[in-house]
């Protein structure tokens, strides 16, 4: 029974990860993009996938990765997430510098750029808060509420960013992934009752 659940959960997660990647790999737009632009796009998709994995790890929902083990992997994936966002932005910068400069200065004609840039700063802030948590001597309550708030902004803005874009992601697999990202985040915040911590 436990083994059945393990196989079910992991194969389900694998399918959820593989589907948007495979669908994007079949996008006709790829024919008219060079490897750097393609890599930039896929780094964005990978970042969205990692955004789904993060709450699953912290909530201990993945068989074989409960409690502390899940938290340790959560830190590694957090680093990978920030790296994916960095590759996403750097690849786009190389492809068309003026478009990325406009986006970073919130002067872009495309609204999704603003959402993306806000999400980028929020995820960086969430990661920085995690790295300096001990040195800042934060109370558990402050740390949890701070990290959760920054992550909430990251999730919300990333989802709006992705949905508004007409790019290599296939529409249905994009909507499914975005929905799961939001649901996973909401579930872990509710399960851990983040708002109820007194310490």
């Amino acid at each position: 029974m436990r083994r059945g659940r393990t196989i079910l959960v992991w194969s389900g997660l694998l399918a959820v990860i593989a589907t948007p990647l495979a669908a994007a790999a079949a996008s006709p737009l790829l024919a008219w993009r060079d490897p750097i632009y393609i890599a930039a796009g896929f780094a964005g998709i990978v970042a969205m996938i990692l955004l789904l994995v993060q709450p699953l790890l912290i909530g201990g929902y993945l068989p074989g990765l409960p409690g502390q083990r899940g938290r340790r992997v959560h830190r590694v994936i957090g680093l990978a997430l920030v790296t994916a966002v960095a590759i996403h932005v750097a690849g786009l910068w190389i492809t068309s510098p003026p478009d990325v400069i406009d986006a970073l200065l919130f002067a872009s004609p495309t609204p999704f750029s603003d959402w993306g840039v806000i999400a980028m700063w929020a995820v960086i802030a969430a990661a920085v808060l995690a790295v300096f948590r001990r040195r800042l001597r934060l109370r558990l309550r402050t740390w949890r509420l701070g990290h959760t708030a920054l992550v909430a902004v990251t999730v919300l803005c990333s989802v709006v960013h992705a949905i508004l874009i007409e790019g290599t992601m296939e529409t249905l697999s994009k909507l499914v992934l975005c929905t799961l990202v939001v649901l996973a985040a909401v579930k872990v915040v509710t399960d851990l009752r983040v708002w109820a911590i007194r310490r």
């Binding site: 737009l29 008219w32 786009l92 003026p98 872009s108 495309t110 508004l164």
Partner: protein, 169 residues
């Protein structure tokens, strides 16, 4: 979809058209309040955000950009009286099936005819940086420089239109 024989396009009100309509209403209201005395005059087209991105000065006048198959069209008129302007140079560029915006071979210029209309064939525009869009520039000395960045309502479109109203420099 078909309601009582009427074909309803599913993208009748896209976010883009709503924003455009809202912007147009707002612009009309604002300009109407700012210059009541010149209410009859045709206002100059302002440059669009990001319009000048990947602009290359002095793109050559060409019969066609690359292999063609897609049409960029529009008009050039004078601010105030709206007189069509002939012989005006408009530069056009985009991310197409044949190249990036920054590639020199993606750029070309054309001249307006006696009716102030221009029409240049170019390769199919494909979505890049999240939207299927083109770039146009009026960059000669006689009038103030204007950069436009029109967005296609669908990436399946095979033409795109942009109109210029120019103000003397």
């Amino acid at each position: 979809m078909s309601i009582g024989g009427l074909h309803m396009p599913t993208d009748l009100f896209t976010r883009r058209t709503l924003i455009a309509a809202g912007g147009a209403v707002a612009a009309t209201w604002v300009s109407g309040r700012l210059v009541p005395a010149r209410a009859q005059g045709l206002a100059a087209t302002p440059s669009m955000r990001g319009g000048s991105n990947n602009y290359i000065p002095n793109a050559p006048i060409v019969d066609r950009i690359g292999g063609g198959g897609f049409w960029m069209t529009g008009t050039v008129r004078r601010a105030g009286d709206g007189v069509p302007l002939a012989g005006q140079r408009i530069q056009i560029w985009a991310h197409t099936t044949e190249g990036y915006e920054r590639d020199p071979h993606s750029h070309g210029a054309t001249l307006t005819d006696a009716n102030g209309e221009f029409r240049l064939e170019m390769p199919q525009i494909v979505p890049a940086f999240g939207q299927p869009h083109g770039h146009l520039a009026y960059d000669s000395d006689e009038f103030e420089t204007v950069f436009l960045r029109p967005v296609m309502s669908s990436s399946q479109d095979t033409s795109l239109r942009a109109d210029f109203v120019l103000k003397p420099a």
